[in-house]
Amino acid sequence: MNAAYRAFLRGLTDSVSIAVGYVPVAISFGLTAIHADITPMMAIVISLLVYAGASQFILVSLVASGSAPLSIVGIVLLMNLRHFFYGPALLSKFGGVPRRYPMIALAAGLTDEVFAASISKMQRQPERDREPWYLGVQLGAYASWVGGTAAGAYFGQDWLRHSPILSQSLGFVLPALFLALLLEIRQVVAVNVLVFAGLATLGALFFMPAYGAIMTGMAAGALAGARR
């Protein structure tokens, strides 16, 4: 077994922490899609092709409300605009070794959670192993998201019908995952970055939708980091 393959397997193993968060939310997404009269197969296609959690929920609700196709695509892309900043930040963590894989393979699965987990754990990987490790993280997360969607679309209603508490608890999975990731990286992040980003997000929520507030928080944190 060569080093790249071993690094890829380590990445798959490390993706378990993301999968723990993804599967319940993906099940919720599958359920939401079914409730919006989208077929199970089409729900899976959404997760396969769009693969961007929150915006998928919005896509489904806009489809259900009969919105115009162009506005649906526009809102989905606006929500995902924050992903624009992830790639350069991620590339800066790969180190100076020559690129091993096509860039599209590195970009395709770059979600919020994959980005956060990779940023927090990549430094522990040797530079030459970082790309295959990251591909493993991506693939594990992607498989859990698509698999969770399929489970939710085909079986979710039976599981959750009799347990509203379990259904509500699914809503806390992603916040819990983000908090756990923050705890993981707290020692390498300046406190002022977190304070500025958190306060800017909170302030922005009074004036704009959530995706705008997220971008405002990211910009404030980046400014605080640059001025350090």
């Binding site: 296609v45 892309l77 800066s92 590195l106 997220i214």
Partner: protein
């Protein structure tokens, strides 16, 4: 809405999202590699990840509290946060901390129900 239109929307959203992730990486790789590595830009890039995490966390809590910012809706969140902290301390893993937080959150929801 017809299945064809739905598929067109999904495809356009998917391609657009992929381009949002891919294009900045290509631009950086082609022309700005050295510049990104230096000084303030590098520090700003390093700060984006943690900033995104805390921003997503704040937005998540906000959306959970927004309809009724009462003690009854805040208590499960506080318990969930404590569960994550405790899970992190005892289990030393991201997955363990996440599950501990969700379990605590669910328990307090059940208690109030």
């Amino acid at each position: 809405m017809s299945a064809t239109w739905l598929f067109v929307i999904i495809l356009a959203s998917g391609v657009g999202t992929l381009l949002l992730r891919l294009l900045p990486m290509l631009w950086q790789e082609r022309g700005m590699r050295d510049a990104w590595r230096q000084g303030a830009r590098r520090r700003a890039l390093d700060a984006i990840g943690p900033s995104a995490m805390i921003a997503l966390l704040v937005v998540s809590f906000w959306s959970m509290l927004e309809p009724s910012p009462a003690a009854q809706s805040a208590a499960p969140i506080v318990a969930g946060v404590l569960g994550v902290l405790l899970g992190r301390k005892l289990l030393h893993s991201i997955a363990g901390a996440t599950l501990a937080g969700v379990a605590t959150y669910g328990l307090v929801l059940w208690w109030f129900a």
